[in-house]
Symmetry: C2
Subunit: 417 residues, 2 copies
């Protein structure tokens, strides 16, 4: 069977299962997730055997230690995955919520109801826990899933998916609620990205190359997570101690993630804050690359070049520039932004409001570390990812982002004149 | 200059203008629209001269009378366009609205604010009024616009766009709030559809071929309006007079539009309604194509073939089938649906609720003519179109559909532990 025919068949099954999912109560969906957690626990030896095959092949292929670490399913990793299923089961169900019902002059009642998206494609790389985490969130929101994991983890992923399928059948649902492709080449990714006849959305979870392979020729909408060029502006007046603490946390606490700060702009009139912040960062081992004025303000800072302000370091490195106004800061931020997270530190409420209004990014902050761009931190429960696009869902995406809406119209026989 | 370079330059201007638009108050945006209406009125002779050139070329090219009618800008058409600008100015502004601000245990305030999308591409065919209508809605929602109209109306479109640009400058905004391409071939459409570096959204307003040309290789998200296979199910019990009236209106009032009914399913236990509805439609000159049981129930109905139930007639023709249960009706509707509008006529509230919950279309109706799928009828004000996709916006799309949101986070120096 060709890839295309095989995909079509899998997709049709997932779509048929999605039509059943749309009818399920929250209780039933939670029962699936809890059955999955139980089955995972009962068959953990089987999963570990499958994982051992992947690990053997990884060792033979000389994969890096970091890669092998991400591949490994230890007892405690499995316990964490099962616990995650329970946590998603405990989240409120967005499906069926009716918002904004209003009455028209002719008596029609018009409103909107949250509904599942349908079949969601998840394309991911090495971590096998994504297999279960993604399925949990998609199913809770009433969708079915087509998984396509990386080749390094194929044995682990297939073993996990089969267990999830069995759990579906245990509670009387078709196994096709969870479909997995056993073809792991890039061609499969390209084909999936054009299956708009059955896929409502694709979520690529991985690096830039994977995202590009999905979006380049996609006809299916994608929820993608691109770069995070997070930026902070320190205004002319602010609580200096707070600013030191917030910038420190934004850069140092976990520098390798998309909500860690990469560019820092400081008002030239706030030399006190500039000196205190930069001194603190230097002591924390952060390499600073500054504009000419920054370098003359504080010693031991190397000169930044133009590219530095467009570089996502993901490391203990920070670009720093002095600016002369809020306007200049907003303009600079617009120039280098990846549209994800930007922050102002100020005690001037008017400037804060203007920054929040005018800076055009998925998440805009006032007086808080940038590290909070995260579904859990926002109070959304677990997240499926961070979206850097502008449509449908932006920033942290949780259950609501995995749904859409339909219009409800209730009448008493109204006709158009 | 190559098309690509030219497009890039236009796009950069439109994007720079969008960065200015995001700061405008509602009053200022309304002032633009009113200045546009006034300038259009003052320069109506200039518009009519440009339109005359298009009409001459249309006559020379032997375009159909219907096509020429759609091209023609009469005095009253222009007055209607200017009035439309005033109506959009009067609509509430969605931008800046903050929804669902909540407090996290650590004191963070997290909420969402409606913001403009950015630069919106409008690709349209012959009607020059689309030039103004689209600009009005996009600007009101705080966006700028890149227009690409059809070749038949190029002189009218350019004249209108220049007037809109002048009006922008009159109120102190850059002319680039409204950009228009003077290249009208299909290659330009394809290039535009890949300009995700500056376009946030493309709205193709035209036939299936145009939509296909846009979406086939698009990297820019599109808000497309595909087929409307509108369907009605008449349940086992219902108010027969109401059902006759609603089905009549749904088919006969304006058969050429996407919310006119194309398939009718009737419960086999409701022969009374079936006879009354079909008799009424026959008398109204509707050609009926029925299943075997329909044909034996009412005389003078031709047999429908399988394709008929997947045909968007856009004419006084209707496919009719008897079904034996609500489940069967929902399954049939799922099979033939284009996902736009479906309706149940019933006096059984439980069946109505189940239909509204389970039928997976952009608009689901109970006891009301399908002709109401329309932004104005829903109370949204003017609409930019009807979306048949599942993400971002579904069904009638008005101002809110031309915006997105960003997350606002206000703190007092919180850091991640």
């Amino acid at each position: 069977m060709t890839l295309h025919k095989n995909l079509r068949k899998i997709g049709d099954h997932a779509l048929a299962a999605a039509r059943k999912m749309v009818r399920l109560s929250s209780a039933k969906k939670n029962a699936i997730l809890l059955a999955m957690a139980e089955t995972l626990h009962n068959r953990r030896e089987l999963i570990k055997s499958a994982n051992a095959i992947d690990l053997e092949q990884a060792a033979a292929a000389n994969l890096s230690a970091a890669m092998i670490d991400r591949l490994t399913l230890k007892e405690q990793t499995l316990a964490g995955i099962a616990r995650g299923l329970g946590e998603v089961a405990a989240l409120p169900d967005p499906v069926g919520k009716v918002t904004g019902m209003w009455r028209r002059p002719n008596g029609l009642l018009v409103g909107r109801m949250r509904i599942p998206l349908g079949v969601i494609g998840i394309i991911y790389e090495s971590r096998p826990n994504v297999t279960v985490d993604s399925v949990a969130l998609c199913l809770k929101a009433g969708n079915t899933v087509l998984l396509r994991g990386g080749s390094e983890a194929i044995n682990s992923n297939v073993a996990l998916a089969e267990i999830l399928q069995d759990a579906c059948e245990q509670v009387g649902l078709p196994a096709s609620c969870v479909e997995i492709m056993n073809i792991t080449d890039r061609e499969a990714v390209r084909e999936m990205s054009r299956c708009d006849q059955f896929l409502s959305l694709i979520i690529p979870r991985g690096g830039h190359d994977l995202i590009r392979a999905v979006t380049e020729n996609a006809t299916v909408p994608t929820l993608k997570h691109d770069r995070g060029m997070t930026q902070i502006y320190v205004d002319e007046t602010c609580d200096v101690d707070m600013a030191v603490k917030v910038v420190h946390n934004s850069k140092v606490q976990r520098p390798g993630v998309c909500n860690a700060v990469e560019n820092l702009f400081i008002h030239s009139g706030n030399a006190e804050a500039a000196r205190a912040i930069l001194k603190d960062l230097k002591e924390a081992g952060v390499e600073l690359r500054g504009c000419l004025r920054t370098c003359s303000l504080v010693e031991g800072i190397s000169r930044a070049n133009d590219e530095d302000f467009d570089t996502e370091y993901l490391d203990l490195v920070l670009s720093v520039k002095l600016v002369d106004s809020l306007e200049e800061a907003i303009a600079e931020i617009g120039l280098h932004s990846s549209g994800l997270t930007e922050c102002i530190l100020t005690d001037n409420q008017e400037n804060a409001d203007r920054f929040l209004r005018e800076v055009d990014s998925a998440a805009v902050y006032h007086n808080v570390a940038t590290r909070f761009t995260d579904g859990g931190q926002f109070g959304l429960g677990a997240e499926i990812g961070i979206a850097t696009g502008r449509l449908h869902a932006r920033g942290p995406v949780a259950l609501e982002g995995l749904t859409t809406y339909k219009w409800l119209v209730r009448g008493t026989g109204q006709v158009r004149p």
